[in-house]
Amino acid sequence: MKEFTVRVLIEPKPELLDPQGQAVERAIKDLGLAHISQTRVGKLVKFKLKAVSLPQARERVSEIAHKLLANPVIERYSVEVEEL
């Protein structure tokens, strides 16, 4: 078994209005430091996982993300898996 570090990034689907992202964007603009746009606020879930191979680890992580970490109706996710 190999050990992997996993990062799952979850964000609201592009077509879904993200009021939290809008509020953060307004605040960033109030800082007066940058012209920014399209701010989205999501979540990061990190964990370690044991699997026999990288493909197997990726498969497991995708299943976890799809079934629990993200709600596919309103969110999309991306997965980063690295061998330790």
């Binding site: 609201p12 009021p19 979540k43 629990l68 109706v73 309103i74």
Partner: protein
Amino acid sequence: MHAAVVVFPGSNCDLDAYYVLKDLLGIETTLLWYRERDLSEYDLILLPGGFAYGDYLRAGAIARFAPVVQALPEYIEKQRGLVLGICNGFQVLTEAGLLPGALAPNINRRFICKSVKLRVENAYTPFTQLCREGELLELPIAHGEGRYIASEETIERLKRNRQILFRYYEENPNGSLESIAGIMDETGTVFGMMPHPERNCERLLGLGEGLKIFQALAQALTPGPSPVITHGRGVAQAG
């Protein structure tokens, strides 16, 4: 008739629902711990409001893996009885895939706690049979994640099958698509709504309009002639 009110760690409207069923309507009611798997005794499973598992990750996301929720598909498949999800209970039912769509954070980013007007969109269901179509009910809402979202295709299907039972009237408080406040599944036995009928069942707390929903359930689940089809695919037959 025997009703079960499910108690998750973090439920906080369980006793209100229990009070309405047991004390106001005299229905045999059990507070059912979320670890239970056997639902065969119960004619009604009520998933109450609250914050099951602290709403960690997303509202309802973790509660859907609770044994009692895992037992629901079989309960529904067998058409054993009715399932009512109120507020957090509605969120659990969508997360579990037992109702379509999802409940996203309110459009104004705030937790909203106030009375709202609802329009009855379909009165030919076991949940709304004591209402008139187009009737307005005033019920409290209290949620941070109540913005109903679903694909265009799902919304069309909900409309076509008359699965939308309640819409917010005049004001859409949380930004829900189509002002949706409550929907039923395709079997006509599972219903989820964001407003809290159990919080307006007595004149002391308003006009008591919420009681109609519980009375309708009791009528649908009590043996004897009933004007409404409580089982089977009776959803589209209304009208």
